[in-house]
């Protein structure tokens, strides 16, 4: 199974509906298994940079195959990969929580990135959305 526009649209539709119910507003980005953007929606009234940040989170989650918040573990002085966050080798790399890979049948089929609330809110929102399609 691969990420397609239909699945991405369904995720975004559910996400926007859930956000509206809670009175929140988010930018939500869906990328495929290689980190390429499939769909991105920015809800009305959400700050402009959130769209790109959501996309960065999704890219990080899809390509590392771990939540974007866990990428920062590579930056600790006592583990390999020290300085990953400082090398600036890719402008999309981010360690902000809110990007989660989507696993299906043992494979990463894509990732979702959310930006608009606090980091914790973003992660909870992401998890709920992924549960929807699994």
């Amino acid at each position: 199974m691969v990420m397609n526009l239909e699945m991405a649209k369904k995720l975004l539709q559910t996400g926007i509906q859930k956000a509206k119910e809670k009175g929140m507003a988010y930018s939500i980005a869906i990328v495929d298994e290689n980190g390429w953007l499939v769909a991105l929606h920015r809800m009305d009234g959400v700050p402009i940079p959130t769209a790109e940040i959501a996309r960065d989170k999704a890219w990080t989650a899809a390509t590392f195959r771990i939540p974007s918040s866990e990428v920062s573990q590579f930056g600790a002085p006592n583990v390999s990969g020290y300085g990953l966050n400082a090398q600036n080798w890719n402008e999309r790399l981010t360690t902000i929580p809110g990007g989660l890979p989507i696993w299906k049948d043992g494979h990463v089929i894509g990732a979702i990135g959310v930006c608009g609330g606090s980091p914790d809110e973003d992660v909870i929102f992401c998890k709920k959305l992924i549960e929807e399609i699994q």
């Binding site: 526009l5 390429w36 953007l37 499939v38 769909a39 991105l40 929606h41 920015r42 402009i48």
Partner: protein
């Protein structure tokens, strides 16, 4: 129509996608941006090349920034227009706008009743810029949906 909302943007995207799929027969990426040039919604249709999303966003951004369809601006960068009136005076435009400037035909600004630019739509993925089946006509299909 005062401001471009996500709801309106999705309506445009849906119509443009339908046009691209059913009439043009090509998969493409379509982006809608607001009056600041900021993304409201982007869709990449199944089968469209991966790089088209960024190009569609850049086309829409350029259409807002210059308040004109990218088709018009593309004339400035066309070497065939060197020496012609309104032709070659803007070759230095290449590489401007922090790399976001994209004068490939396919981006069209959206105006309100007072003729102010409130956003733009950009399409990339159809292997033609001008003509009946082109990025420009896919974007036009999206704009038409606003008035339905």
């Amino acid at each position: 129509m005062k401001e471009l909302t996500l709801e309106l943007a999705l309506k445009m995207l849906e119509a443009a996608e339908r046009w691209a799929k059913d009439i043009a027969g090509f998969s493409c990426s379509i982006a809608v941006v607001d009056k600041a040039g900021a993304i409201i919604a982007v869709h990449r249709m199944d089968g469209a090349a991966m790089a088209t999303t960024d190009i569609a966003i850049e086309k829409a951004w350029t259409a807002v920034a210059f308040k004109m369809p990218t088709l018009m601006g593309s004339r400035w960068l066309d070497p065939r227009n060197i020496g012609k009136l309104l032709g070659d005076h803007a070759m230095g435009m290449i590489g401007r706008g922090k790399g976001r400037l994209c004068f490939i035909p396919g981006g069209i600004p959206i105006t309100n009743e007072e003729n102010e630019v409130i956003g733009a739509i950009g399409c990339s993925g159809v292997p033609s810029g001008v003509g009946d089946i082109s990025d420009t006509t896919v974007s036009q299909a999206g704009i038409t949906a606003l008035y339905e």
